[in-house]
């Protein structure tokens, strides 16, 4: 009888421990939709000499509608549109990008921490570690973020963006 009681206690203890672990795991899940809202607004970067990159991001449903342009010596040298939308099934964002003279780009984006993210071509989603190109970013503050382009696992360039207050 004593052995039986002990066994029951052990099982209950193990069950409680498992529940505790599950609760902790759920708590660390990132709310991709909420975190994405940090990008809303207008941003600019002066990383490249003589060129300023502008992004204007507006919320649309759970996604974002984005206009971007590269301006050099007061002339727009490149511009395009982006549409970012959430996919519940994979708990990630899909980004569609069109730029004059280029193919449409389809990317997958997700936050890896409250202030850090990664995005890479949609075609590399099943094998992110083997993606030939990816981008990693971090919010340094609500008004600043940095994003690094990584090609073949080597950082190539980092753009720092600051919020344009209107």
């Amino acid at each position: 009888m004593k052995t039986f009681c002990f066994t029951i206690k052990m099982v209950v203890l193990l069950l409680l421990s498992t529940s505790g672990t599950q609760a902790q795991t759920t708590q660390t899940n990132l709310n991709q939709v909420e975190l994405m809202k940090q990008f809303t607004g207008s941003w600019k970067s002066n990383e490249v000499k003589d060129t300023t990159v502008y992004f204007d991001q507006k919320l649309y449903g759970t996604g974002q509608d984005i206009y971007f342009k590269y301006v050099s010596k007061a002339k727009t040298v490149m511009e395009g549109k982006q549409l970012w939308g959430y996919v519940k099934e994979i708990d990630k964002y899909i980004l569609a990008v069109t730029t004059e003279g280029h193919d449409i780009g389809i990317f997958v984006f997700w936050f890896t921490a409250n202030n850090k993210w990664i995005w890479l071509p949609y075609s590399s989603m099943s094998n992110p570690e083997r993606a030939s190109i990816k981008y990693e970013g971090e919010f340094k503050s609500p008004d600043t973020f940095a994003e690094t382009t990584i090609i073949n696992n080597k950082p190539v360039i980092t753009y720092t963006y600051s919020r344009i207050k209107q």
């Binding site: 649309y60 759970t62 996604g63 395009g80 549109k81 549409l83 964002y93 569609a96 193919d103 389809i106």
Partner: protein
């Protein structure tokens, strides 16, 4: 022997003719990007008490499309889409966000003739003929677009969109 020789000559002649015809009929590849420009503009379909709107703007290398359904002056659904060309697969890719739906959806669009294109989920890219859901859009004239929706081999709707000159 003479008959056999004559028959052989006829077969050789027919084969030569057949090759000649093939050579005279070059495989004309449809220019997906150019053909898609037929859709630029404001299109409206009035059906009973519901109005469907497609507003297609060419912008930054792609099409920015606004879609809307309205019943008795009230918006039932609306969405934004971004359409661009994918050279690798010679198709157009459309990303769609419906305002009151959380998820983004990706579709492939392909002109199958100069005035007709079909659309289906991008998941069907490797097996388009097996798609259970498909939309067909046909430009009957520069001012008339007919949209047909098929689901599981059953007709869901046919909508006649007329171009609204603005």
């Amino acid at each position: 022997m003479k008959t056999f020789f004559k028959a052989t000559m006829i077969v050789v002649f027919l084969l030569l003719c057949s090759n000649g015809i093939q050579a005279q009929t070059p495989q004309t590849k449809l220019n997906q990007v150019e053909l898609m420009k037929q859709g630029i503009g404001y299109w409206k379909c009035e059906s009973k008490d519901t109005t469907f709107v497609i507003e297609d703007k060419y912008y930054g290398g792609g099409h920015e499309v606004y879609i809307k359904s309205e019943t008795k002056g009230k918006i039932i659904w609306e969405g934004k889409t971004l359409v661009g060309y994918d050279k690798k697969n010679d198709i157009l890719i459309e990303s769609v966000i419906i305002h009151n739906s959380p998820d983004i959806a990706l579709y492939l669009m392909r002109f199958i003739s100069a005035n007709k294109f079909e659309e289906m989920s991008l998941e069907n890219i490797s097996n388009p003929e097996q798609a259970t859901e498909k939309w067909t859009y046909e430009f009957k004239s520069p001012n008339l677009l007919i949209a047909t929706h098929i689901l599981n081999n059953k007709l869901v709707y046919v909508r006649n969109y007329s171009r609204v000159k603005q």
